[in-house]
Amino acid sequence: MSTPVIELEQVRKSFVMPGGERVPVLDIDAFAVADREQCALTGQSGSGKSTLLHVISGIMRPDGGRVVVDGHDLTRLGEAATDRLRADTLGLVFQHFNLLPGFTALENVLVAMSFGSGRPSRPRAADLLASVGLSHRLHHRPGELSIGQQQRVAVARALANRPRVILADEPTASIDTAHQDQVIELLKSTCAEQGVALLVVTHSPEVAARFPKRLRLEDFNRAATHHG
């Protein structure tokens, strides 16, 4: 296995319920995604898939352990540095696309660029959209795009700052079966072309089956085993 771009060691995360009860969600001894690797992560509902992605992306801090992304231990970084690392190193694709509704496709990509270290570039943003087949929809707002087109914009936006890895959280959950294949193929091919690692979280065995590496969260997350 080549150098990992994501590496988790002894990561624990729990939530405190309104009654004061502490519910463990993540208890992972080790987890890694190698450079340029494409991996599907499955798990039952409530198994902690989204929490794992939030911890990897620095949106949530673990209660303990190490989360290393592109060689940087997020647990030792301040919030601003984590934000910067997230902008520069990670590309996120969400289940509901989460495009900014008031912004055009091009602007959605430019917004992501504006938080990275590089200068926002309209030509590059347009190229990214062209690479996902949306050169004719640059100035359309999300509401004017089909579901499939919105997902393509989300993929282009995830690639805006030349990330090392893309984290996709149930990218096909909101679309029909016919489009699922297209989206997965788009993610895989685009990441392969750009040399970017890909971690797709999905509850769908069909989607997971399209990846050479498949992991079940329940297999390495002790909290999911106990909870699920």
């Binding site: 949106i59 919030e79 934000d83 520069d88 996120l92 969400f94 602007e107 917004v111 504006s114 938080f115």
Partner: protein, 461 residues
């Protein structure tokens, strides 16, 4: 894309709410601007009247303020008339028929009589003599009102004292004392009524719909002074006296019939002194040897006020009293009320932004997931508020000036000062900008902090 661009897109995304919010703020700003501007032009106009080349007004006993308002600003009503004999007390021996110097002549450098009570198409008619424009000056005391003064104030320069200036004519000339039916128009009168030198005009008695008098001829149009003189119609008082209703009733044998129009060319007979009265006398006191001019004026004023014939008022003192007792408190009150309106409008920004906070939270969470720092989202929300305030402020500024222009004629009629679209109160208006921005930031602080503290994981679901 800059934070400015993101803030602008957020505003466009909620266009209707944003427009209504900015508009409500704009209306508040319009009220403040119009209050500031009108207050400033009223003060400027009153101050401009304090340097009219005379330092004392003598008139009938009564309110000194009314005397000043009527004589200097051509507003309010005349108190009463004073006798010709009393006027002659201010004249030197050479100017009197009896060859003896008047009682107050020694303290007087110039004494110009004015007679009021007639109108010409909404403007006051002042009967006077040629000395009004030959001997009196304007602009002494402070810088003249108008653009120059406004520019000086805008760049923070104090008003420079300017030397009194002689009246100049944009066209034509002053009337001569022997031109009984000659008249001079202030520049605003000529511009508004489209009159030129050589044109005839017929004043009306007592009001615009009063008895129409004999026509006078415009001998000249004054150059702009930015003083109340610009709004006056000045006629030779000899012709004024000959109009119906202007002669004081006299004994039957002494009465003189007013001259008909046709008699103009054949030098009409002047009204005898016994039938003359004047409304007021504009007096420039003399600087007596070894005595400061102020002391001369004080002594003269005391002497006149102790007598029964009339009163002496000092325009600067009365204007100061007017400003201190009436204009400034009223202006302050209006300013307080309108400032409250702006604050309420700013709360509108807060309500609008809090109202859209649910929608905003999701967008903020997405931006944070894309790598935006907390400071980015805080700044974006504050920028939105600043943009709304700036937009509303600009609209309000324009509306405020439009409002001033709209009520300008009303101000001119009731207060005797001119107001237009370009009238401004630069210093106060410039202070309004940081005030508005500060207020907007303050109002947006709550939604901005809410955005700052957005739970990203919760909103990403």
């Amino acid at each position: 894309m800059s934070l400015f661009g993101i803030a602008w897109r957020n505003i466009r995304q909620r266009l209707l709410t944003s427009v209504l919010t900015a508009l409500s703020l704009g209306l508040g700003v319009a009220l403040v601007v119009s209050t500031l501007v009108i207050g400033d032009i009223v003060k400027q106009a009153f101050n401009s009247g304090s340097g009219l080349g005379y330092n004392m007004i003598v008139g009938a006993k009564g309110s000194p303020l009314q005397l000043v308002l009527n004589s200097v600003y051509l507003i309010s009503k005349p108190i009463e008339n004073i006798s010709w004999a009393f006027y002659e007390e201010f004249l030197p021996a050479a100017a009197r028929t009896d060859g003896a110097a008047g009682r107050y002549a020694g303290s007087v450098q110039t004494a110009v009589p004015i007679c009021m009570g007639d109108y010409f198409r909404g403007f006051r008619v002042v009967g006077t003599n040629a000395a009004y424009f030959d001997k009196l000056t304007w602009g002494g005391g402070g810088a003249p009102a108008g653009l120059g003064r406004r520019l000086r104030r805008a760049v923070g320069l104090a008003d420079a004292r300017v030397e009194p200036r002689a009246f100049a004519f944009a066209s034509g000339r002053n009337f001569r004392d022997d031109e009984f039916f000659g008249g001079v128009l202030g520049c605003d009168v000529a511009a508004k009524l489209g009159l030129r030198a050589g044109d005839p005009f017929a004043p009306t008695h007592g009001a615009d719909d009063g008895l129409v008098h004999d026509p006078f001829t415009v001998t000249g149009i004054l150059a702009r002074t930015d003083t109340p003189v610009d709004r006056g119609v000045y006629v030779n008082m000899e012709g004024f006296y000959l109009q119906e209703g202007h002669a004081k009733p006299a004994a039957e044998e002494a009465a003189v019939k007013p001259a008909p129009v046709d008699d103009h060319a054949t030098s009409p007979v002047p009204l005898p002194a016994s039938q003359r009265e004047v409304t007021a006398i504009l007096v420039e006191t003399a600087a007596l040897p070894g005595l400061p001019a102020e002391l001369t004026a004080m002594g003269l004023r005391t002497a006149i006020n102790e007598g029964r014939d009339g009163q002496a008022a000092e325009p600067i003192r009365e204007i100061s009293v007017l400003l201190d007792l009436f204009v400034r408190p009223l202006e302050l009150l209006l300013l307080l009320v309108t400032t409250l309106v702006v604050i309420v409008s700013a709360i509108g920004i807060l309500v609008s932004m809090v109202g859209s906070s649910l929608e905003r939270s999701r967008d903020v969470a997405v931006m944070r997931a894309l790598g935006a720092r907390r400071s980015h989202v805080l700044a974006t929300v504050l920028l939105e508020a600043v943009l709304l305030a700036a937009g509303g402020g600009i609209v309000g500024w324009g509306l405020g000036h439009a409002l001033v222009a709209a009520v300008g004629p009303l101000i001119t009629t009731n207060a005797g000062v001119s107001a237009s679209l370009l009238s401004s109160a630069p210093a106060a208006e410039m202070l309004l900008v940081p005030f508005l921005i500060g207020l907007a930031i303050l109002a947006a602080l709550i939604p901005a902090l809410a955005a700052y503290r957005t739970d990203v994981a919760k909103w990403l679901g």
